[in-house]
């Protein structure tokens, strides 16, 4: 392994250790989506159709919570605390640092999606995934897309006091219009139009194909295209706007 890879690994292990020591982060990343899954699973327990919607929906929401929300909050916090500036003064290469915090978010996303799939099989009659390759492709695409957007969004957040509001103003409306909790096809058309522009509904469509309907990758290419455009947009702004220091300093 190259030196940069070794340092990435050390930083990644540190991020994992710190994640489990921070009860708030662990709660929002793990407990909240599972709580939603339990609640909505109970509400829709009489209808397999609704359960088939909620399982991929919560899986998509989990990806968003563990990548977009977590990164937007964490990077803002570390930037405002001056931790990013301190890290910047060490020999740790920038690429190693970003890879480590990205890998940390990916780990949480994968764990969370795994738990949702397991719960779907055990409690909600969804069964094992129909298409593992499609599942892999959409988890990877979803993570890359929402992680890059989370980093980009952290540049917009002015300070840590505002971080929760800035994060939720994106997160909450997005999960409601994107069909996390209901079949998006039943929503009014103007909401559907808004949702179609955003990436989350397409990630959920892909996950739904992989987990429930068996609708294959080839039928979801337009979904991948939308996700790809958002990923490019997110990556551009994540890299160009990256600030290691609080703007107040």
């Amino acid at each position: 392994m190259s030196d940069a890879a070794v340092l990435t690994w050390h930083q990644y292990r540190l991020e994992r250790k710190m994640f489990w020591r921070n009860p708030t982060a662990a709660f929002f990343n793990f407990v909240l989506p599972l709580l939603f899954l339990g609640l909505f699973g109970a509400i829709f327990s009489g209808s397999q159709h609704d359960l088939d919607v909620i399982v991929p929906g919560i899986a998509g929401m989990s990806i968003m919570a563990t990548t977009f929300s977590a990164l937007a909050m964490n990077i803002t916090f570390l930037r405002e605390q001056g931790v990013l500036k301190r890290v910047r003064g060490t020999p740790l290469p920038t690429g190693s640092y970003l890879a480590a915090i990205g890998a940390n978010a990916v780990t949480n996303a994968v764990l969370q999606v795994g738990i949702v799939i397991l719960a779907g099989k055990l409690f909600f009659g969804v069964g094992w995934p129909k298409d593992w390759i499609e599942l892999f492709v959409f988890v990877v695409a979803g993570v890359a897309c929402l992680a890059s957007l989370g980093v980009a969004w952290s540049h917009v957040i002015p300070n840590f006091d505002a971080a929760a509001a800035y994060q939720n103003i994106v997160f909450l409306p997005t999960i409601f219009v994107s069909g996390v909790f209901y079949d998006a096809d039943t929503a009014p058309s103007f909401l559907r139009d808004i949702a179609q522009v955003l990436p989350l509904i397409h990630i959920i469509d892909g996950l739904s194909g992989a987990l429930v309907t068996g609708r294959g990758l080839s039928d979801n290419l337009s979904a991948l295209a939308v996700i790809g455009v958002w990923t490019a947009f997110g990556t551009l702004f994540a890299v160009r706007g990256f600030s290691w220091e609080s703007r107040r300093a």
């Binding site: 340092l7 540190l14 250790k17 220091e245």
Partner: protein
């Protein structure tokens, strides 16, 4: 190579939009030297130091740190320097020892973790979480993290702000210890006694320019050079006079006192302190007594 200065700055300028924060600064810091940058808030100290640390880009001028250009942000430079920033946070959920151990992994030839914890006076706090540290303890952790990589050059930006007098003396001992090890130290400070106690040479900065530079004890010798002689005269009134060369005056005073058969009470001969020089140089133009 070893004769080359640790830091070389030539005609350094930094402009933010229309504001010129640094207006043509020159200085050199020799290897093994403790160099102090003094100046009021907004003088351009931190801007200058952050250009040397690689945090900011310069508008123009030449800057060389350990023979490298910090503007290129070479990793080799970060491996050889330690930075104590004016204020910086640390991961709140780590224990002190874990933080120092992790930082040690980032450097090619780190110092021993226990040794650095002892040097930074963090013994007994190794297992405490960073978020539970007091302000002074957090500052000591800043020192430990800056020293763990065994740097040749250490930047200290206002390192003892917020310390109680005893903690300041302890921090000074750490800095003296670094100097004894042959490390180069660039110290930014508001405290004149700190510069006087620690720095081999100081530069006084104001409005982005260096106003004076030299060893703290000799800074007064230049243009502002004068002695202040004070004594109590035969009527018991305290007299004070300034002289560039006090020998004749002292002779006159002692002879007169001897002739009267009296003691020359409260005699003192003082030279301007670094503080006098600093206050004179950094005073606003309208209050300068020139």
């Amino acid at each position: 190579m070893s004769d080359a200065p640790a830091i070389l700055v030539r005609d350094l300028r930094k402009t933010y939009d229309a504001f010129e924060a640094v207006r043509g600064i020159d200085f050199e810091v020799a290897r093994g030297e403790v160099f102090g940058l003094l100046g009021p808030n907004g003088a351009g100290k931190t801007t200058t130091v952050e250009i040397l640390e690689g945090y900011r880009t310069r508008t123009s001028g030449i800057v060389s740190v350990l023979g490298l250009d910090p503007g290129d942000r070479p990793r080799a430079l970060r491996e050889r320097t330690g930075i104590v920033l004016q204020s910086s946070g640390m991961y709140r959920h780590l224990r002190v020892r874990e933080a120092v151990e992790h930082w040690a992994r980032l450097y090619p030839a780190p110092r021993d973790v226990d040794e650095v914890l002892a040097l930074a006076q963090l013994e007994g706090k190794e297992d405490g979480l960073v978020r539970t540290l007091s302000g002074g303890q957090a500052r000591r952790l800043d020192f430990a993290l800056a020293l763990i990589g065994d740097p040749e050059l250490i930047f200290l930006d206002e390192p003892t702000t917020g310390f109680d007098p005893q903690a300041r003396r302890q921090a000074w001992d750490v800095i003296r210890h670094l100097a004894e090890l042959g490390k180069t130290v660039l110290l930014t400070t508001h405290y004149l006694d700190e510069a006087q106690a620690l720095a081999d040479r100081v530069a006084i900065i104001k409005d982005g320019r260096i106003l004076a530079e030299g060893p703290p004890s000799e800074l007064g010798v230049g243009s502002a050079s004068h002695y202040r002689v004070a004594w109590r005269d035969e009527d018991g009134v305290l007299q004070e006079r300034e002289a560039t060369e006090p020998t004749a005056l002292l002779h006159q005073l002692t002879s007169a006192a001897l002739a009267r058969g009296e003691a020359l009470r409260d005699l003192s001969v003082t030279r301007p302190t670094l503080e006098d020089v600093y206050l004179e140089l950094t005073a606003e133009p309208e209050t300068t007594h020139v």
